[in-house]
């Protein structure tokens, strides 16, 4: 692992190599410098590919920002080089590369909008069995107490 510019470190992976496993407790985020990353989550019927992260995109920000276990696993597709951003170096990265913060917000905003659309979709159908729980109540325990 090499460190560039005293801030970010660089990690290289071969095709198929695991980058992070689902449930891992680690708090770095990654920027794909070259190559590609496959995101996989184990569902009730086995592993499901959630998507791919392309060159220039980032992943793992939930673990960095919220210190939560990894929501899904990530695997290298082809030879892959990642910039690794740790919590302590994030502010330095943003100071040196302020557009990175804007790109992060832009992507997170897009993901939030997509999540909202998915939550709203059942309410817009005429299916009588569709879940009509308002989105602000999702996550509230069954007994009605505050989440």
């Amino acid at each position: 692992m090499a460190r560039r510019g005293g801030v970010d470190s660089v990690r290289e992976f071969v095709d198929g190599q695991i980058i992070v496993a689902e449930g891992d407790v680690s708090n770095e985020m990654f920027i794909v410098s070259s190559g590609r990353v496959r995101i996989v989550k184990v569902g009730p019927r086995g592993p499901v590919v959630l998507g791919h992260i392309e060159r220039g995109e980032f992943f793992g920000e939930m673990a960095l920002l919220e210190s939560l276990p990894r929501h899904a696993a990530a695997y290298a597709v082809g030879a892959t080089r990642l910039l690794v951003i740790e919590p302590g170096s994030l502010l330095v990265r943003i100071r040196r590369d302020p557009t990175f913060a804007l790109e992060m917000l832009h992507r997170l905003s897009g993901r939030l909008r997509e999540a909202n659309m998915r939550l709203l979709a059942p309410q817009q159908t005429s299916d009588p069995d569709a879940d009509d729980t308002p989105i602000w109540e999702i996550g509230r325990p069954v007994d009605g107490s505050p989440p």
């Binding site: 560039r4 510019g5 970010d8 660089v10 920027i31 794909v32 410098s33 070259s34 060159r55 220039g56 995109e57 910039l83 040196r96 590369d97 302020p98 557009t99 990175f100 804007l102 790109e103 832009h106």
Partner: protein, 255 residues
């Protein structure tokens, strides 16, 4: 705000400083727009297209009308116009938004074939601007009267900056070729861009980096250099308004 765009053919110009009484840009733009249309390019103004800091209202108003006409002409021929905000036109952002909608951006991530290209004005990497945007703005406003005596005064500013950086490098034993812009460009290449295009310095240059390249589109205040982006990559070119031709840029600055 649109920051991710796909373009097959794009030209990037910067630092026109329209409204500045010594900007030569408006006289050269018309033939250049013909070139853009005839060759099926889209156009990106990479910051400081208009100049609110060192402008005279009459010049700014009349040249703004020219720019609107130019945008309309390009749109009529199917060319897209993007405007990246710089430090001399950031105060006009609201006005520009009404003309350009979501084609006004703080930077652009352009996908052209297999290339990922960052187009950005680059002022946020200027140590003086980053340290104190207000002081930088004040210095620009104070310097405006100097244009009366010597329109190329910005070249003195650039030369002074370079001399100061050179002295700092000697004192700190740093690489002669390392500048804040090149360091920033390398940082962007490291996070997945093939090519980085800045403006701001007014100095056209092309530099090979580790894993990519950096180009500066120069300026149209006194010169007329631009970056041409196609599937083959990005090249720096010079516009000759008299003969209405684009030639390969042969100036100094290539490393």
């Amino acid at each position: 705000m649109k920051i991710d765009v796909d373009e097959e053919r794009l030209v990037v110009i910067s630092d026109l400083h329209l409204g500045n009484p010594y900007s030569l840009a408006s006289g050269k733009l018309s033939s250049f727009i013909d070139y853009v249309i005839e060759n099926g390019f889209s156009l990106c103004v990479n910051g400081d297209g208009l100049d609110i800091l060192q402008s005279r209202f009459r010049a700014l108003a009349s040249q703004t009308i020219d720019v609107l006409a130019m945008i309309r002409r390009l749109a009529e021929h199917g060319s897209r116009v993007y405007y990246v905000v710089g430090n001399h036109d950031v105060a006009l952002e609201q006005v520009l938004t009404t003309w350009l909608g979501d084609h006004l951006s703080p930077f652009l991530n352009v996908r052209c074939g297999d290339h990922r290209i960052r187009v950005e004005h680059g002022h946020v990497y200027d140590p003086f601007y980053a340290a104190s945007p207000r002081l930088y703005e004040l210095a620009g406003t104070v310097a405006a009267p100097l244009l009366l005596g010597y329109p190329d005064v910005y070249k003195l500013w650039t030369a002074t900056t370079r001399a100061r950086r050179r002295a700092q490098k000697v004192a700190r034993h740093l690489d002669e070729g390392e500048t804040p812009e090149r360091t920033a460009a390398q940082m962007l290449v490291d996070r997945g861009f093939d090519i980085v295009v800045f403006g701001h310095t007014h100095q056209p240059e092309r530099v090979d980096l580790v894993g990519g390249s950096y180009l500066n589109s120069g300026n149209w205040l006194r010169d007329s250099t631009f970056v041409e982006i196609t599937h083959g990559g990005a090249v720096l070119r010079d516009w000759d308004a008299a003969s209405a031709t684009a030639t390969a840029w042969t100036g100094h600055g290539h490393r």
